[in-house]
């Protein structure tokens, strides 16, 4: 069975059906992309998976556990991590601390251990730093560790978001438009990074409008329009799908891609 299973998922905002009866399977270790026109409901799918709001209808199952109605932090603890379409870093914290927050759900020491600074707590703090440093190293952000997050250039902020998400030690990473605002060269770097992450064993679930990125790395591409799945398949299949071209890609892109 797939790692993440969405069955008959719908989301209604007032009169608007943002996601309409969607079925989706994400298998372990793959890179799956979700694409679709603006307002198709992609971010909404992410939001439902991560518990920002519950689906109006349907079930979400992750590794056999139902996620509906779990609080977000529990879902993250279960092994799903995400980044945001509009960057949401902890601006007045340092880069290192941002990553340390991500490690929160994998550590235990509570307020009392902190107050009395028990050996266990000290040990854990050390581990937190080591682990955070490792992650920063992996993403090439070590040199920025003491900068406030808000001072980072845009591209590095996006990477820091990924770092924070990776720090929660997920099995599955949801990336919401990670390449937005990046130029082609930076996008290429990002592409490598995503593949590197996948190679560490992560399942990648990607929402993106940059077709070069999507088509370059995805194993499966799912296309959403008005909340409904209109196509699914390999990048090549999807690219040639008439409905997708009409609803999403446009005619010119065909020539270019």
């Amino acid at each position: 069975m797939a790692e993440l299973v969405l069955r008959n998922i719908s989301k209604r905002f007032g009169g608007l059906l943002a996601v309409d009866n969607l079925d989706l399977d994400v298998s372990e270790g793959m890179i799956l992309s979700l694409i679709g026109p603006n307002g198709a409901g992609k971010t909404t799918v992410f939001n439902m998976i991560t518990g920002v709001y519950p689906p109006s209808h349907g079930t979400i199952t992750y590794r056999g556990n139902k996620l509906n109605h779990l609080r977000s932090n529990r879902i993250i603890r279960n092994g799903i991590a995400r980044t945001f379409q509009n960057i949401r870093l902890f601006k007045s914290m340092t880069v290192l601390e941002n990553v340390q927050v991500g490690l929160h759900c994998r550590t235990k020491s509570g307020a009392f251990r902190a107050l009395f600074r028990t050996p266990h707590q000290k040990q854990e703090e050390k581990e937190i730093i080591d682990r955070a440093m490792e992650i920063l190293e992996f993403l090439g952000l070590v040199d920025y560790r003491n900068e406030y997050a808000s001072y980072l250039p845009y591209g590095d902020q996006r990477r820091l978001e990924i770092a924070r998400a990776v720090a929660t030690q997920p099995h599955m990473l949801l990336l919401d438009e990670p390449a937005a605002g990046m130029n082609p060269r930076e996008t290429a770097e990002l592409m490598e990074l995503i593949i590197k992450l996948r190679d560490t064993g992560l399942t990648i679930f990607l929402v993106e409008h940059d077709m070069r990125l999507v088509m370059g790395i995805s194993e499966i591409v799912t296309v959403l329009d008005h909340g409904q799945k209109i196509a699914e398949g390999t990048p090549k299949q999807v690219q040639e799908n008439e409905r997708v071209i009409e609803a999403y890609l446009g005619t010119k892109s065909k020539e270019r891609a």
């Binding site: 991560t50 920002v52 609080r71 977000s72 932090n73 529990r74 993250i76 603890r77 991590a81 995400r82 945001f84 949401r88 870093l89 902890f90 601006k91 007045s92 914290m93 340092t94 290192l96 601390e97 340390q100 927050v101 991500g102 490690l103 929160h104 759900c105 994998r106 550590t107 020491s109 509570g110 307020a111 902190a114 107050l115 600074r117 707590q121 854990e124 703090e125 937190i128 730093i129 560790r145 003491n146 406030y148 924070r164 998400a165 720090a167 929660t168």
Partner: protein, 410 residues
């Protein structure tokens, strides 16, 4: 003076002139303008002084002079920073410990009050500074501590020390009760609700005659006592020594304050403290980074309340008296002032502000009615000049190599 500063001077003086107009006496009391003019004069004087200073500092001559001095200054600064912070802390602690030996009773009493407010300020800092929850009813937990001790001591004869843990737990529980309905609220909705809770607790204390004796207050609680073994007269006896004198009370609250500083400092630099700050910065992102925000917000309320409760128990035992009137809204505001004026999230700042904000108005009682006037204006001016607080908080920075100099400050 550059013309922009001149313009500023004129505009601000003018506006200040309008501000003091309500201070001009009424026809019926006799038209009185000297007081208003005095206030205005002082303001204008300070303003001129400040703007002048600013333009001198901005001027080229000063800049180049400062440039010449810079290496000297940095050397001085280096020398200061070379001494480990621990030594400074020890010196400070020593000074605080020696204080009652050189000060008279009044000054010791003022010192005690300052330290109580330092504890309160640090406690509130957990809620406001770290977790970013604006709390205008914080003084209620101070009341909870005071009344817990008073009631338990009067009715059951429990000692200060055995009441402390009970007070802490009760304070924390109250913190959670107050925190719970506010979990979904933001910003100022939180402010009014916490303020409402603060008032509710005060009013309940005031109205529940049977338990609290209402506005009459509770009277005659024992002072804290410490026990020590005595070997006199053969055999060992446990002697209890009541901390009656102001001096011994001072040392007790100093101990509490130091423990609070250490405690809040440790929390701040722990996983819990980081999670609080993350919540302050972006609650949704924190929740989606795996931080259980609900639980941590409740924890912040509870921890903050626990510190206030300790301070309250001490306060009640020091006065041997407690009354609901001691826990009015204005007190919450003063504690909040300490936190913000000191610098949100900054422990040294809050300690400094606690001392400044309590001691200065107290010692300047000679000014009488002008005191609060100046206090109010100074607060506004301070905020305008240093919105980050006296000693702004810096996030902890981690060094990989010893050689890199640590940079603090703005």
């Amino acid at each position: 003076m550059p013309s922009s500063n001149v313009k500023k001077f004129i505009v601000y003086s003018l506006f200040m002139g309008i501000l003091i107009l309500p201070m001009v006496g009424l026809p019926s009391t006799g038209f009185e303008i000297t007081r208003a003019l005095l206030v205005w004069g002082v303001f204008v004087g300070i303003l001129a002084f400040w703007l002048l200073g600013k333009s001198i500092r901005g001027s080229d001559a000063f800049q180049s002079a400062a440039g010449g001095l810079a290496p000297f200054r940095s050397r001085l600064f280096d020398n200061f920073t070379k001494v480990p912070t621990k030594i400074y802390l020890c010196l400070l602690l020593f000074a605080l410990a020696a204080y009652p030996q050189v000060a008279n009773n009044y000054m010791v009493d003022v010192g005690i009050t300052c330290l109580i407010y330092v504890v309160l300020g640090l406690g509130l800092d957990i809620v406001v500074g770290l977790a970013g929850l604006l709390d205008l009813g914080y003084i209620a937990f101070y009341a909870v501590g005071a009344y817990t001790y008073s009631l338990l001591n009067l009715h059951f004869g429990l000692s200060f020390w055995s009441c402390l843990p009970i007070g802490i737990v009760l304070g924390a529980v109250c913190g959670c009760i107050i925190g719970y309905p506010t979990l979904r609220m933001r910003g100022d909705y939180l402010a009014i609700v916490t303020m409402g809770f603060g008032e509710i607790i005060r009013l309940v204390l005031n109205n529940w005659d049977k338990l609290t004796k209402g506005p009459n207050g509770l009277l005659g609680m024992a002072k804290p006592a410490i026990g020590y073994p005595s070997f006199a007269e053969g055999g060992v006896k446990w002697v209890s020594y009541s901390l009656k004198s102001l001096h011994s009370l001072y040392y007790l609250i100093l101990l509490i304050a130091v423990l609070t500083v250490i405690g809040v400092g440790r929390l701040n630099n722990s996983r819990i403290g980081r999670a609080w700050i993350a919540i302050r910065e972006d609650e949704v992102a924190a929740e989606l980074s795996g931080v259980p925000t609900t639980w941590l917000k409740l924890l912040a309320y509870a921890m903050g309340a626990a510190f206030a409760s300790v301070a309250g128990a001490f306060f009640a035992s020091k006065l041997s008296y407690t009354n609901p009137n001691f826990f009015i809204f204005m007190e919450s505001c003063i504690v909040l002032c300490i936190v913000v004026l000191g610098g949100v999230g900054s422990i040294p700042g809050i300690v400094l502000a606690g001392i400044v904000l309590i001691a200065v108005p107290e010692v300047s009682r000679e000014l009488q009615n002008y005191r609060m006037l100046v206090f109010g204006l100074a607060m506004a001016v301070m905020m305008v000049l240093r919105p980050e607080g006296l000693i702004p908080a810096t996030r902890h920075k981690r060094e990989l190599h010893e050689t890199e100099g640590e940079t603090y400050g703005e």
